[in-house]
Symmetry: C2
Subunit: 160 residues, 2 copies
Amino acid sequence: MVMELRRPERTFTIRQLCTEFKATPRALRFYEDKGLLTPARDGMNRVYSYKDRARLILILRGKRVGLSLQEIREILELYDEGDEAAHQNAHSLKKFREKIVVLERQREDIDGAIQELHAACERLETHLSQKRPDLLPKAADYDQVLRARLDGHAEMAMGK
Amino acid sequence: MVMELRRPERTFTIRQLCTEFKATPRALRFYEDKGLLTPARDGMNRVYSYKDRARLILILRGKRVGLSLQEIREILELYDEGDEAAHQNAHSLKKFREKIVVLERQREDIDGAIQELHAACERLETHLSQKRPDLLPKAADYDQVLRARLDGHAEMAMGK
DNA sequence: CGTCCCGCTTACGTCAACGTCAACAGAGAA
DNA sequence: TTCTCTGTTGACGTTGACGTAAGCGGGACG
């Protein structure tokens, strides 16, 4: 029987996910310990499904936006409990809305910070161009970097 | 001689700044310990200037966007060293540009997270409206909250 | 056969960013 | 004077998110 790679039936080892997302085995086991992941087992070894991988993606992004593992777990739990605990969910709804507000504020902060950094960069550039024009590095590279980032946005959704 | 309040000459006690920005004395002293603030002294007591206050604002926003105190200090140092250390500044310039890229990515992450939270909220709402319509709380409040936030944006700049 | 390498568990270590507590001082109010 | 408030300096505790090290087992390779 052929192994169906690249199909939803595909599975991953801990190391495959680690190298793909630049995490460490310790981190994945830690997430599991905290209830964010529950991979299957082959004997002792962990076996991650596509769904586990999708959850991991959400975990990592959650971390990048400053959510705690606890908060991330609450979000993830909404996806696998098809229903039940309606009372708890009413609470979740409130927390989520609050979190949205926090994130919107955070986005404004980020925009502000980006502007300040741009201003600081300009100051530095003019300062350097006057006193040490030699040190001015690859200045135009930056725009290229920005433009290069307008491409790959692998949108992942949770399993149906 | 009259105290010129509300003027750049005004000074602040540690508690005034703390209550204004919902920080703690411990935190401000900690920032000072790490070199992010250097308030004047009246005997033993700290005396914060308008400039110190502006720095504090930057510190707090830096924290909200996920910068470490170390990174924030580097940014602040660019403001009070009018010049000098051109070699170091060339390094700072590079780091700042990298940080801008990181922040732009972070903003994308936040947008994605907001969308997911919105989706989760909708799921929860329909779920609740079907099984427990009684628990559906002030649903429309949320939009009001959002609209309420389109106002006060106290833009602070560093002292000349 | 030994020896890597990957994986597992258990347990202790670490780092940032403060919180908490002790012990003290000066300024005003009762 | 005695409280109470606000301030100070250490020094130690805490929390979250892992890192690191010890010790063991199982395949694969030379």
